[in-house]
Symmetry: D2
Subunit: 279 residues, 4 copies
């Protein structure tokens, strides 16, 4: 069980959303309200895209708790980015090591996950076998989340993000059923190529982990004047997060079960239905 | 704010009290019930005396949370000791580093502390100046707890433990008042020379952190048959801990405000009054 | 490239061989003489069997360099064992994480390795596929060494140690050749079940990493009076190590290319030939 | 014994000087040529000033070796700065902890040091006593280097950098002599306020650690075309480093004993004499 946050919009010091809000992600690492665990202290990670650079995101991950990590606070106060991920981890059993910390990166892609694959130790081999052999040795850690990422890449993330994730989810459910695990998948997932962020909320049993997205900036500004940093942000600035960063009514919207949000959404609706594609 | 445990009695695998009980210390590291914080994830430490050896205790300390530390679990399952300390830390601001983890050791002495010295950054210099100059460079970390330890040594821990701690407490209160800090000291402290454990509960405002001691073994055995390991323990086996390890009535006794317990207590009463000695 | 040490004989404080000798293993972590690298600072580990206990060895591993690790020094000064492993790591590219540190443990078995599988990233998937599916999810790290261990278990380590290791080596060479890697295997390996230690020295190209074993204790005693701890050790006490712990002539014997040593050797010769079994 | 590098000039990706050069600082962490130790694996740190921001430098420090640290590599590839420090540490005994890693920061100041104060444990208390009481609790670690920094601040770093460092050095030598330590100080020090870098080379015995500064950019460009990044750098771009980053004749100049270099030097000479000011 973990908590995560994805930001897309006007370039921002990470600090503004990671530390400053009343119920910031760093605060959630110590006292989450909606999580299975209140503590998410088994490591953390951030990934960010630069306005310049070659499009490859930077990743900073550590096995220490986020709340007491001085290096994270330093970076958050000095790194400015138009699109970044942050994740605080509560291990469901796998080792607390840097290669198990989110976000995961492959090429220009970032991936992070909250949830789990039930009985993963029983399904792990079949899932790994389905990963493109050329990618097999890219799997450095021992989490279900990383295997899900490489399955999604194997299933065409580069061409069609929602489709690839749907095929990954469908495959996990098929392998689960083959091993007598009827409801294997529990996930809220964020993935980005540096241009857009796709956020998925889905679980086999239809009772997914919490996931929220912020209202359009102009709405937020009107409702949330205390967040000074919002004054300069563009209208398409959005945040997707496991738990609202504050309690102000109207600011945060729950992403419905079985749906996918894309930010920036532009003229499109904020989200559309998501269903696994039977493997 | 921290949680700690001190054990004295029949040689025991640390695991038996650190992991197995319903509300074990490791469990308290993740979800303390009586603490100022529910999470004590800013490092931990254990210190133990061997039945053989030269009387110098071993210390194992790490900045990671206790609940996910595999090395701690390994040691707890393989180290047997007749007298050991364990501590899980919640930093009140000082750096999360090994030299700030408890227990602290000097020669044959172990020391651990839960609480704090109010406005320590203002009192620190005067307190450090009072430490025996020959010991000054033994202070490796930046905690109030370690300075309290070296003050107690300076004030005669070797000759008279309760007296030295009383003089330390009195001195801290005097320095506090000199700096306009009326109620500077909050402490539950455990100290041992390898033969006995002294446990103190005191605070300037008379509202000290929780501290409990176990009833005599024969009582515990009768009341707590589920703790299998108690069957072989001697009658003088005792545990002092920030929070009871379980909920069974009659097993745990609160150490009163302003008192000191000594274990093994032998024929003596379980505790006696403790008051700072005006500096 | 790494350095390792295996000890079997009279129960000993680890400190006696890890720190005290002139060119101890901890010294080798900072300035190895015969290694490909002089520095072995990418983590370390120790594993030890107790005289009491259930036969499962304890393992203590950390990603920090051995030479500056205070916890290792503490343990070495307080843990006594009749059979223990120690390993200092120089990563050949895989992540520096606890699950990549040696020794590896499975049930009562310990395993450690110096060397590498050439082009491991290309062979990794085929090698992992050959691991008993029931063991697949036991692989927590990303090293060639750990995969070699689980292949050896898959190939019958429980029944016949030299045979299982020979089949593992033969399989690695077959998979290597299939991928156009003519000389894939470079290894000095130590494995133990808590009763005996098997040490292997082999490489596909016939130019293996250095490996030495100590002469029988009575010989060593006569030649090496300065190692005080040897006075009490039994005649069957032996050490196998990547580099001699000292420079005294006659004390250390190189294990020949393509051979396996077993300690205690009892009446058997000190070593016998080892060759991979064609897979 | 450590190695350090200070850069001032055209904004640069840290990677360009930390990793790319033939004998980069990261390379020096594993195999220094001119150091007392070849290995500098007891932690590292970087500090950098941003072109925007409030003038407070960011600091990233870790106790792991620099050569295997993935987060350092990530930052070096994504952080661009016109003035930054980097330091790889070889502990002379004090704890390996983040608060003992260089550079140290106070307000807008960065400070790093290679060398030591002889018998520091004997001089430490007197030196700490001379630190401005208002700064005493800013000392978080246990190194001589950090105490030197706070002494320099106490002695007027804000008004006169060379003067304050001269008074610090003079005071250390006076305290040393008072304790019968005739040649207490060994230092190469870099300090910056974000505008300029002052680099000092001095030792009581007149045999200081190595320190080099790069020739003016146009000279370097002519002599060192292979360093592609130099093509865009301004003429006042300079590097001061413990060991040359390469072997090209004419590129690196040794800073003489008892001197101080200031970069950018502008019209001033590259360095001027430095002598302690008798305390």
């Amino acid at each position: 069980m973990c908590r995560w946050l994805a930001y897309s919009g006007s370039p921002l010091l990470l600090d503004a959303v990671l530390y400053r809000p009343e119920h910031s992600l760093i605060n959630q690492s110590l006292r989450a309200r909606m999580g299975v665990e209140t503590t998410n202290g088994d490591g953390f990670g951030i990934g960010w895209y630069s306005t310049d650079g070659d499009g490859t995101p930077a990743v900073f991950r550590d096995t220490a708790p986020a709340w007491n990590n001085r290096n994270l606070r330093e970076l958050a106060s000095h790194v400015r980015s138009p699109l970044f991920f942050a994740h605080v981890r509560a291990s469901t059993g796998s080792a607390v090591q840097q290669t198990n910390c989110h976000p995961f990166r492959h090429g220009r892609w970032l991936w992070m996950h909250n949830g789990s694959i039930a009985d993963f130790h029983r399904l792990q081999r079949d899932l790994c076998m389905a990963v493109d052999p050329a990618l097999f040795s890219c799997i450095e850690g021992s989490t279900d989340s990383e295997v899900m990422f490489y399955l999604a890449i194997t299933f065409g993330l580069d061409q069609d993000v929602p489709g690839a994730v749907a095929r990954m989810a469908g495959f996990v459910e098929r392998v689960g059923k083959e091993h007598g695990v009827p409801e294997p998948l529990q996930m809220t997932v964020a993935v980005s190529d540096g241009q857009r962020v796709w956020a998925f909320r889905y679980s086999s049993q239809g009772a997914s982990r919490s996931l929220f997205y912020s209202s359009r900036a102009e709405t937020v500004r009107r409702l949330h004047p205390d967040l000074g940093y919002l004054d300069e942000v563009s209208d398409d600035t959005r945040i997707v997060v496991s738990e609202p960063l504050g309690d102000l009514p109207g600011m945060w919207n729950e992403l419905p079960e079985g749906s996918c949000a894309v930010i920036p959404s532009g003229a499109e609706p904020d989200y559309f239905p998501f269903l696994p594609e039977p493997g």
